[in-house]
């Protein structure tokens, strides 16, 4: 019980971190924490370890606003600008080739079932990776609250929802997304972020599966 709570809380924090990595460009403050090794002991997973190290190293290289601008420009090139090098939208990994594809509507329904919707509905595609991470973060948060309040039963439903979402959505495209980043950039920061994400998704898919087999 305590173990489940502790792990879910940890996962919640990781999802919170991941949504931030892919939604926004890093600030100097974040880079400072990373370069100080804040993620050092996050996980034994090899990809996560390597990713954490790369991000820390890359963060140490950002010394001034000019360096920071370059990193932000790389974020834009990868995820924002014109023909993005790595479109961060699920639809694009499920056979669609435009924004607001089928997956955007599918995850919109998942969010609605939990009483949520995209803040800028119909303006930001619902299937952005950061939004999907945020949804997992939200579900983790609910799970933690349920575990603290009413024990494992209600939490089970939230865990099941996470497992479904991972199987139907996040888990079956995030690894490709990460591979595409690795193919598309020399930036150690984003290569590290891709490895960290890939490793974590692998671990979390396993965790959710095992949690469901109890």
């Amino acid at each position: 019980m305590n173990e489940l709570l502790e792990m879910t809380e940890a996962r919640m924090h990781v999802y919170n971190m991941l949504r931030n990595i892919f939604a926004n460009e890093p600030t100097m403050k974040v880079l400072k924490s990373l370069s100080n090794g804040v993620l050092k002991d996050l996980s034994e997973n090899e990809d996560v370890k390597e990713g954490v190290e790369k991000m820390a190293e890359a963060s140490r290289e950002i010394k001034n606003t000019r360096d920071l601008d370059e990193l932000h420009a790389e974020f834009a090139r990868l995820f924002l600008m014109g023909k993005m090098a790595v479109p961060p939208y699920e639809s694009l990994y499920k056979g669609g080739k435009t924004l607001m594809g089928d997956a955007a509507v599918a995850v919109r329904k998942e969010y609605l079932e939990e009483g949520l919707q995209v803040e800028k509905l119909y303006q930001e595609p619902d299937d952005h990776i950061a939004t999907e991470f945020e949804f997992m973060f939200f579900l983790c948060k609910k799970t933690v609250a349920a575990l603290k309040k009413s024990g494992e039963k209600k939490a089970g439903a939230f865990l099941a929802k996470q497992r479904d979402f991972m199987e139907t959505h996040l888990g079956n495209w995030a690894p490709q997304f990460c591979d595409k980043i690795l193919d598309s950039t020399n930036s150690d920061f984003y290569r590290g972020a891709a490895l960290l994400t890939k490793g974590f998704i692998e671990e979390d898919s396993r965790f959710l599966k095992e949690a469901g087999e109890k």
Binding site: E3, M7, E9, R11, M12, H13, V14, N16, M17, R19, N20, I21, A23, E25, K29, V38, D41, L42, S43, N45, D69, H72, A73, A76, R77, L80, M81, G82, K83, M84, L92, K94, G95, K97, T98, L99, M100, D102, V105, R108, K109, L112, E113, G115, L116, Q117, E119, K120, L121, Y122, Q123, E124, A130, T131, E134, F135, F138, F207, E210, A211
Partner: protein, 952 residues
């Protein structure tokens, strides 16, 4: 529960990580659901998600702006149809219309404000907030205005009809020169209509259905069987079947042909319209490029010699004909030293155009003896040439003297019947603002508009502005040469560009690049201190911007279309979906920029003229329509017999019809109920007023009220330049042709085309550069490929041909298996990733005659390196074809050599397709309007590459 923890995340590290990244609350998601849904209310959710919402708007995929009916579901565009209520396209669409969603949801969309990080042109940007972007713009503009005044800002509004907010914004901040795409598109083509009647575009009377008053007083929508159609149409360098924005012209031409109309297409290439004409009793006239003037001059001479002109019409409705014909006839006895023949004779024209004399006589006879009919001259053949004014003048004169102007089945000036719009909303009144500048040490007060960089400086008659000369003006600075500020000098320091791409289209690409890269030798800063791009896609121009602002796509913004119908029509644009990301509408951007300026201390900005007034886009667009339709109640049949003839009409069609009007006899204005966005919403997005012919009886807008063969418009300009320096364009005319002008011509004039084999002055160039490069527009190839690569699967003319090298792209295909592997018996269109093998996908193609190909050892699929008379080179893949005359290389413009990654497959083909604008001589600017001689290009082939396995 058995969970392996070995590799899993550690809470302590995760907690620290989360702390480092800050916020713990939701940001992308919210629990404030505004769909009226509660968790678990599945039926309601189902209902909401299964219904379609239908809205009316208009297209902007190309400038045709066809009326559309758009179905949305789940807040997303699902189906797109043509709007039957819009007579312009009458429910029809070309291939681009239904693909509009591909543009709206293109991965290439600019969704957030961006700021440049690298050097200009490098294409490196970072995302910023609207506040940061606006702060940067406002800080720069306020500083620039403080040092150099508002006149040092240019706002170029691109090629849409929904840009009045940007006019208001620019003029409001003190910039007198607000430009638009019209400046770099076919101003020579418009010359004749503009000086003869203050019009713009003459098109054959082909728009059907059209609303016509009947003899019993009723109004009826009349179709092709009800009304006369032209008996001949001569398209000179005009290809309505594939290249033009006049949507009704293709279906109208086909119908006219079925009813016996003879279609003559004068074009060095057998374009689709020419092919269609030859197959239906018409003819293709493969003229030497740039000699349309010679051809039309011989036809006019023939008409006058034979006495075919409509003398009664001329006597009653025209002025200055005698002066014009006498100037024209003064050449008749002169011998052209280049060929020893008398000017404008059939022999002379045959020699110049390389056509047979018999052919020209045959055509002149058709035109001289057939009524009704229309001569229509085009963008490329005439409109984009240094000597294009002359063909435009002659075409206009022939249409008029034959009595075809505004005759049923004749030729219509679409600008004369077009609705008025804009009014105060466009902010024209700001140009009347008093400003004081120090000239030669003394304070001088005048009007904002008297600081205009063109009209008061190098281009006194630059009525459409002179965008093609922007690079030079920015590099060299402006000196005011006429008016109260004469002698005043200022630099251009800021330039906004909205939805345009002048790096590719506004004269020579290299000259624009040179301008953007130029630095002030003292400060080391860019000479043009601020370049702002406002667009929804990342085109080449944006690569040179300091700030990019995300503009709403045409499905996300508002507007009023009034594009070249032959009767007054207003079509509404309104959002059918929400703006993607942080994109904003034109009114929102105008408000945001002016507010930022105000907050940074710009005292020219009055909040009540911007954000406090236009609190909703509708308010702005309603104001735009205050002067609508603004046409006079004149013509046959009289549009509103219940209302006074000759009075200006304002208001909705139904209020005018019902007589719910107030009449101002003093000003001769009839006020119906104002037309508004809400009225349009209730009327399928379209307002149509009755068509009338023979409006020239009371509606010609010239000074004399008649069709002028001596042009008061240019007489006014001569007054302006009196005592001032010779206009810059005259210097260029002398340089390029040897002709000397001391003032603007006010009736018939003549000069020979530069860089042309017909001009003996260029004999040496012709010998060295034996080819003429001409261009053509293929709408699907020019504007579409960056968003919808599937349009590359349809060949067009000889300029868009499947000569690709192997590549991968996403295309729409009909599929019967879903993403999940399930069968879909009915099938649906899906976008799929596809590898295109060599020779299966259309690219910008250089067409070349087989005789030329043989001489150079070229076969279809080879890549030639073309060098122009200035030594600039470009490569292009070749199609060897009989559809082009010898000595001519034809390339589509805008479809090749595209170097912004934002333009999709076109970008992938940049190594073997040419950017034709690299060939343009940036100094070759026409003497009156300063228009680039885009098609006056001589060239040679300097290399031929044979494809190898490595390149294909």
């Amino acid at each position: 529960m058995k969970i392996s923890r070995r590799n899993f995340v550690k809470l302590s590290a995760a907690t620290a990580a989360a702390a480092a990244f800050g916020a713990q609350s939701l940001s992308a998601l919210t629990d404030k659901v505004n769909l009226d849904l509660q968790s678990g209310e599945e039926q309601e959710l189902e209902d909401k998600f299964s219904g379609y919402d239908v809205k009316y708007t208009y297209d902007s995929y190309c400038p045709s702006e066809c009326g559309l009916e758009v179905w949305t579901k789940d807040g997303k565009v699902e189906k797109i149809y043509g709007n039957y209520a819009d007579p312009y396209n009458h429910g029809k669409m070309c291939g681009k219309g239904p693909l509009g969603a591909g543009l709206a949801y293109s991965l290439g969309r600019i969704k957030y404000p961006m700021m440049r990080v690298g050097a200009r042109g490098e294409g490196k940007f970072k995302r910023v907030s609207w506040d940061e972007a606006l702060d940067h713009i406002a800080t720069k503009i306020v500083d620039i205005k403080k040092k150099h005044g508002g006149e040092s800002i240019i706002v170029d509004t691109g090629d849409m009809t929904d840009t009045p907010p940007y006019y208001r914004m620019g003029r409001g901040m003190g910039a007198p020169h607000i430009t638009e795409h019209g400046s770099i598109c076919d101003t020579p083509r418009r010359f004749g209509p503009r000086v003869f009647i203050d019009g713009k575009r003459w098109e054959p009377d082909l728009m059907r259905p059209t609303l016509v008053r009947q003899s019993d007083g009723s109004l009826k929508e009349m179709g092709y069987d009800d009304l006369p159609l032209p008996k001949y149409i001569m398209y000179v360098g005009w290809n309505p079947f594939t290249a033009t924005r006049i949507h009704y012209e293709s279906r109208g031409t086909v119908t006219a042909q079925i009813k016996g109309c003879k279609v003559i297409v004068v074009d060095p290439a057998m374009c689709t319209t020419a092919a269609q004409a030859t197959a239906n009793g018409g003819m293709w006239v493969p003229i030497l490029p740039g000699t349309d003037n010679h051809f039309l001059a011989a036809i006019l001479r023939h008409i006058l010699e034979k006495g075919y002109e409509d003398k009664a019409f001329i006597d009653e409705y025209c002025t200055g004909v005698e002066e014009f014909t006498s100037a024209f006839k003064s050449y008749w006895d002169k011998t052209d030293s280049s060929n020893g023949m008398k000017y404008f004779t059939m022999e002379w024209a045959a020699d110049k155009t390389t056509l047979s004399k018999d052919k020209i006589v045959e055509i002149a006879e058709i035109i001289g003896t057939t009524k009704p009919g229309a001569i229509c001259w085009g963008m490329n053949g005439v409109g984009h040439r240094y000597a294009g004014y002359i063909a435009s003048m002659l075409g206009t004169a022939i249409n008029v003297v034959m009595g075809n102007f505004e005759a049923p089945g004749g030729t219509i000036d679409c600008n004369q019947v077009r609705i008025s719009k804009g009014g105060n909303a466009g902010g024209g009144f700001f140009n009347g603002r008093e400003v004081t500048r120090t000239v030669n040490g003394k304070p001088v007060t005048g009007k904002q508009k008297e600081l205009h960089m063109d009209e008061m400086s190098d281009w006194p008659a630059g009525w459409y502005d002179v965008v093609g000369d922007h690079p030079r003006r920015i590099l060299e600075g402006i000196e005011i040469k006429y008016g109260p500020f004469k002698g005043y000098k200022y630099p251009i320091k800021a330039r906004f560009e909205i939805g345009g791409n002048t790096v590719i289209t506004g004269s020579a690409t290299w000259k624009w690049q040179e301008m953007y890269a130029a630095r002030d030798p003292e400060t080391g800063e860019y000479k043009l201190e601020l370049a702002v791009s406002i667009d929804s896609l990342l085109l080449e121009n944006a690569l040179y911007a300091d700030v990019i602002l995300p503009a709403a796509h045409y499905f996300e913004r508002y507007g009023i279309a009034d594009i070249y119908p032959s009767a007054p029509v207003a079509v509404m644009r309104e959002p059918v979906i929400k703006p993607l990301g942080e994109s904003k509408t034109q009114v929102e951007i105008m408000n945001a920029i002016t507010k930022a300026l105000y907050e940074h201390g710009d005292t020219d900005i009055d909040p009540n003229e911007f954000w406090l007034k236009y609190t909703h886009d509708d308010i702005f667009w309603n104001e735009v329509m205050e002067p609508t339709p603004g046409v006079k109640n004149v013509g046959e049949p009289l549009p509103y017999p219940n209302l006074p003839e000759g009075y200006k009409l304002l208001g909705t069609p139904d209020s005018l019809e019902a007589g719910r009007v107030t009449i101002d006899d003093e000003k001769k204005v009839i006020h119906g109920e104002p037309i508004t966005m809400d009225w349009l919403r209730k009327n399928q997005g379209v307002a149509v007023w009755p068509m009338a012919w023979r409006r020239y009886k009371q509606a010609v807008k010239t000074g004399s009220g008649k069709i002028e063969f001596v042009w008061s418009k240019l007489e006014e300009e001569n007054e302006k330049i009196k005592g001032g320096p010779r206009p810059y364009g005259f210097e260029l005319l002398e340089k390029y042709t040897g002709d000397v002008w001391d003032e603007y011509p006010t009736t018939f004039f003549w000069y020979e085309p530069p860089y042309n084999p017909a001009n003996p002055t260029y004999a040496a160039t012709t010998e060295k550069y034996p080819f003429q490069v001409i261009t053509a527009r293929v709408h699907q190839g020019m504007t579409a490929t960056y968003a919808n690569p599937q349009q590359g699967e349809t060949p067009c003319d000889s300029t868009w041909w499947p000569l690709n090298r192997e590549f991968e792209a996403e295309v729409a295909e009909w599929v019967t298996v879903g993403n999940d592997g399930s069968e879909m018996p009915k099938g649906e269109i899906k976008v799929v990733n596809k590898r295109f093998r060599r020779g299966t996908y259309c690219v910008a193609t250089c067409s070349m005659n087989p005789d030329d190909a043989k001489a150079y050892g070229v076969v279809t699929g080879d890549v030639v390196t073309i060098e122009n008379m200035l030594g600039k080179t470009q490569k292009n893949v070749v199609l060897v074809t009989h559809t082009i005359r010898p000595g001519v290389l034809k390339l589509p413009f805008g479809a090749g050599g595209r170097f912004s990654p934002g333009v999709g497959t076109t970008y992938q083909q940049r190594d073997y397709t040419a950017n034709v604008n690299e060939f343009v001589d940036p100094n070759l600017l026409t003497p009156i309007f300063g228009f680039p001689g885009y098609l006056d290009i001589q060239a040679r082939i300097v290399a031929v590459e044979k494809p190898t396995f490595a390149t294909i």
